[in-house]
Symmetry: C2
Subunit: 315 residues, 2 copies
């Protein structure tokens, strides 16, 4: 008799769902809409309903299910309670108890989405072969997740790994989304490097490859392409991106001493050049005992959260 | 039949040794000299010899000893291997295996001294009642230790918790002992605030309470006394101390999300004012989810390491 695990990654727009076998190999994946009305009260029932449908379709019995793993976009304590997911309209409650109750599945493991994605990458992605990694996701913001000895480091209130909100520039005057100033996210996210590029393009008449694009068409890809084509303005943006990120990761290393950094998110799709520029600045800022850490690109893309969710069930 | 534990804290000058009962209460403490000649090869035999003498004196049998716990001044992996203790002349070897072999005691637990002191404070000192703390020792340098869920966070190579080497001022031109520039230790250690005070006294003719002392007589105590007496120059030094430390600890919180910070070392002997100035700057730099952490003074002083060493044995 086969056994199965469901891996679920709840985002603000869609819920990514995967059916996995008992070894953690992905059999099938699909998405459902995240229905946020009524303080997000439909989200968990919708997920459980979708699982029930899949069970029926595949002839899977309740007793064939080893567990359900879930990533949610907010702080989660080690026992599966969320402490507010502003994004989904949720307050404070135990997601694992609720999903257990709705589904009848006893083992429900819940983690913060960035932490769960880090666990996925450590298990099956760019961090494979390492037990201690720091995952950094360079997307709209800068997300982070820390894996120590193969397990998520949650912290006391589920807020560990908030690497995007390390203060890296005490002199900054613009305010970050978190209310503080000079956070890593302001410089090294996809949004951050685009903002800086547009600022520099406006502030000077400096010749640049990037002037051929409309403002809306400039993203990480154009900026890193220009950088590799020796464009000076793009060079300045990429240098800033790397200086802040290298310093931020050196500081993370001084706190948790990982074996490797795994770099994911939209910006990482520009390939090995991203790692090369970060590593160079990292080495400049880190004490001797922490030099020479590995830097890897993430490999699982949007599936990382589902894999990590499944990994929690198999632990 | 009573049972006992030995707690040992190896420093560069002396080895602090304690005899504890099976509950972890200190019965007696003493010190021996750290003999560093011949690459520190006498240090462990001397400790084992001192334990044997104490056993004889107290009529303790080998079978009455639950274990020996030890803190050493260098990185230690989770399985008790040291990776170089420059300070003692040691290379790479298993301290726990060696002490076991020499003493015949099976359970020997070894940790980095700063980490072990953090564990001691969490168990029996300023961090009592918390499971997740960050301990910061403001002495000659700035040391750190991180306790997560009641256990030491070692990192992959025993170098976690190196809070003194967080980069907090990327513009610094002076080099830190670690070879980098702008480390927290350069501003917030006892040495750091004394250095800054002497610099400011030299650079200006500004009136100051501190001018009554000779250069050699100025330490953290004089500086904090002057600060509390509203001395402007001391105010500037204490502000800098707090700005860098507050920012550094906000960054540590974003990585590991503790319940409390415990502040120890010489500078902490100036009492609650130290905590007040740090907390104020911490709150300015930290994201909403990490505000309102507890700040406590360390309570065990130089005994923290022995207590933490014993705690490892009892875990």
């Amino acid at each position: 008799m086969s056994q199965f695990i469901y891996g679920v990654d709840i985002g603000g727009t869609t819920v990514k769902m995967g059916l996995f076998d008992h070894r953690g190999d992905l059999l099938e994946k699909w998405e459902i809409k995240t229905e946020k009305e009524n303080q997000g009260s439909k989200i968990l029932p919708d997920i459980v309903e979708s699982i029930a449908q899949k069970n029926k379709e595949k002839g899977i019995e309740q007793t064939d299910i080893l567990g359900i793993g879930m990533g949610v976009p907010g702080p989660v304590t080690e026992d599966g309670r969320v402490l507010k997911c502003a994004n989904l309209g949720w307050g404070i409650f135990s997601v694992s108890d609720e999903v257990s109750r709705l589904s009848g599945v006893k083992k429900v493991c819940v983690g913060n989405d960035a932490n769960v994605a880090a666990l996925g990458e450590q298990w099956r992605g760019g961090g494979k072969g390492f037990q201690d990694i720091v995952m950094v996701t360079l997307g709209t913001g800068v997300g982070g997740g820390i894996i120590q000895h193969g397990k998520i480091l949650t912290g006391s209130n589920g807020a560990a790994g908030e690497i995007g909100h390390l203060t890296v520039n005490p002199k900054e005057e613009k305010t970050c989304g978190c209310g503080c100033k000079g956070c890593l996210e302001q410089y090294s996210s996809a949004t951050g490097i685009t903002r800086r590029t547009l600022e520099l393009l406006e502030q000077s008449d400096q010749d640049s490859y990037l002037r051929q694009f409309s403002r809306d068409a400039i993203s990480g890809k154009e900026i890193f392409d220009a950088y590799q084509a020796q464009d000076a303005l793009a060079g300045q943006v990429v240098k800033e991106f790397a200086v802040y990120l290298g310093m931020g990761l050196a500081n993370v290393a001084a706190v948790v001493d990982p074996e490797a950094f795994v770099i994911g998110g939209g910006v990482s799709k520009n390939g090995p050049v991203v790692i090369d520029v970060i590593r160079e600045e990292y080495e400049k800022n880190v004490m001797f005992a922490l030099q020479g850490k590995e830097f890897r690109l993430a490999e699982l893309g949007n599936d990382a959260g589902m894999y990590g969710a499944v990994r929690m069930v198999l632990e």
